[in-house]
């Protein structure tokens, strides 16, 4: 049971002079329950890639399989797929439209054809999950703060009970506190429901702490696909792609350069602390 991308290539603007190859022969296997960080510079194709995962875009060539079925087969229900692969877009709060928060979150499950009771139950659960205070439920979504709006939008996708949750830059435009809250929220949702999570980001610090696996995109191709530790060992290559390693990893490198005998593979603050303490003993 997994999502498989098989030689996926996607081109924008076919048949015109402005042809852009946004994805170039991408092969990925996304097993159940994994927490994946998808990283790449602006224009590396990561947003295009995630839009393939729920069939919003169809590959120019190649195939995508969900649980063994080609999602672009004629008799495959893409609407069903969209409830299984939940996609939270960049700035998802821009898609809110209902008169109150609760009705907006009901939109997704209602589109799945669920009855009213089930719809409302799911909406309530989802809003609880994202930690929105009860007294906000019947407010117009436009009255909430930026971080709260984003939670509502995420709840709108969670209410469809996806098996794979894809978040496209969920922390863009948030202050550090809002950022930590959203990332913590994603991690806890993943823990509770044991679903697959794909976190798209260009911030290494965002992903280093949480994910099991890092996929790095560059110019439409996957160039690294490994555990965070192993990916972040390629510091120079990442830098030539306009990406960086987590700040603490940079610090460890600087310490080593300054003559300290420390390992440079720490990617979280906790690991860096341990390593430095070990050295000081």
């Amino acid at each position: 049971m997994a999502l498989i991308l098989d030689h996926v290539t996607y081109e924008y603007g076919r048949g015109t002079e402005l042809l852009v190859r946004a994805l170039n022969d991408v092969n990925l296997v996304i097993p159940d329950g994994q927490f994946i960080g998808l990283i790449g510079h602006t224009g590396s194709g990561k947003s295009t890639l995630v839009q393939h995962l729920n069939g919003l875009l169809a590959p120019t060539s190649g195939h995508i399989y969900y649980n063994g079925e080609d999602i672009h087969d004629k008799d495959f229900s893409r609407r069903r797929l969209r409830s299984k692969v939940g996609l939270v877009f960049q700035y998802p709060e821009h898609q809110l439209f209902e008169t109150d928060v609760f009705t907006d979150v009901c939109f997704g499950p209602r589109n799945l054809g669920l009855d009213r009771k089930e719809t409302e139950l799911r909406a309530y659960e989802a809003l609880k999950q994202v930690g929105l205070p009860d007294d906000c439920f019947y407010q117009p979504p436009f009255d909430l703060s930026g971080g709260q709006k984003r939670r509502v939008a995420i709840a709108g996708v969670l209410a469809m009970k996806p098996e794979v949750l894809v978040l496209d830059e969920p922390t863009a435009g948030l202050d550090p506190r809002g950022r930590d809250e959203i990332l913590g929220l994603v991690a806890s949702i993943r823990e509770e429901q044991n679903i697959t999570v794909i976190l798209v980001s260009h911030s290494m610090d965002d992903v280093a702490e949480y994910v099991d696996r890092v996929v790095v995109m560059n110019k439409g191709s996957v160039c690294f696909d490994d555990t965070p530790k192993r990916v972040f060992a390629h510091r120079e290559e990442l830098e030539t792609m306009g990406l960086s390693v987590p700040q603490v990893t940079d610090i460890m490198h600087a310490l080593k350069k300054a003559g300290w005998d420390v390992g440079t593979d720490a990617i979280t603050i906790e690991e860096a602390k341990e390593e430095i303490l070990r050295r000081l003993k």
Binding site: R79, R82, S83, F89, Q95, L96, F97, N111, V157
Partner: protein, 272 residues
């Protein structure tokens, strides 16, 4: 999806027509349209077609782009053709069911269709060879005398260029919101008319909100840079006429004179 729609009429290439001053092109289009109504006989339309063909040739824009504009008015074209064909009174030629086709009807229908097509293609030559910004600049300059009558010419031109600038932005936004709602299980092309209209709500509400937000931001940014309307404002690239522009005016006047002469000396009413 929606991004495939080409609304930006401008066709980027380098040609004499592209380099002409936008004012010349605006006036040329206006004169060309007038000329279509001055002449009324085959000879006149031949002159118009030759003139237009020459302009297209000089513009280096492939002809299929001109025809593309025709598609939008095809319905109108067929409608006028039909009405003129069947509803003009006169000498009957033949009859289909209850509809009588007259000699005058055929003449009128053909004439109207030719006029309309030439009109559309003529204006596409202008929009295909002039960037929207240039076009509004030219319009602003041409309408400047109206300022004496307290017509807010600069403001109108500014609104036009902002509106044009926002079209691609809003198209992209629409595409994004559509995708986001599709990801939440919405569909925009199912059900009867009422259901379809209703399914537009999740698209239109966020779109309007975003349009207002953008408008607000833009107004703020303009004010922050001390924009205060047209008074005393100078241009970074002021329009000024070159030799080729004067030459074009001469050619234009000659063309228009020929059209008037043809329209005057040849008998009215009949073509072909």
């Amino acid at each position: 999806m929606i991004r495939d729609i080409t609304l930006g009429q401008y066709y980027q290439t380098d040609s004499v027509v592209h380099r002409l001053d936008p004012r010349v092109k605006l006036i040329a289009t206006l004169l060309f349209i007038c000329s279509l109504f001055v002449v009324n006989q085959a000879a006149g339309y031949v002159v118009a077609v030759v003139f237009l063909a020459l302009a297209i040739r000089l513009s280096h824009v492939p002809f299929r782009f001109m025809v593309r504009g025709m598609r939008a008015i095809l319905f109108l074209l067929v409608l006028t053709f039909g009405f003129n064909l069947f509803l003009t009174p006169g000498e009957a030629v033949f009859q289909v069911w209850k509809l009588t086709v007259t000699r005058e009807g055929i003449t009128m229908a053909v004439k109207m269709a030719v006029r309309l097509s030439l009109l559309i293609i003529g204006s596409s030559v202008m929009t295909l060879t002039t960037t929207p910004n240039n076009l509004t600049d030219g319009l602003e300059r041409l309408l400047k005398p109206l300022q004496k009558l307290r017509v807010p010419v600069h403001e109108i031109a500014m609104m036009m260029s902002i509106a044009l600038r926002f079209i691609p932005i809003l198209l992209e936004e629409t595409d994004k919101i559509m995708k986001a709602q599709t990801a939440r299980g919405a569909s925009f092309d199912e059900g009867n008319l009422l259901q379809r209209a209703k399914s537009m709500v999740p698209l239109l509400v966020p779109l309007f909100i975003s349009a207002f937000r953008r408008a607000n931001d833009l107004a703020m940014a303009m004010e922050a840079r001390c924009y205060r309307g047209g008074d005393g404002r100078t241009k970074m690239k002021p329009l000024h006429y070159e030799k080729r522009d004067y030459l074009t005016y001469v050619v234009l006047l000659a063309y228009f004179a020929v059209c008037i002469v043809i329209g005057r000396i040849m008998p009215w009413g009949r073509i072909f």
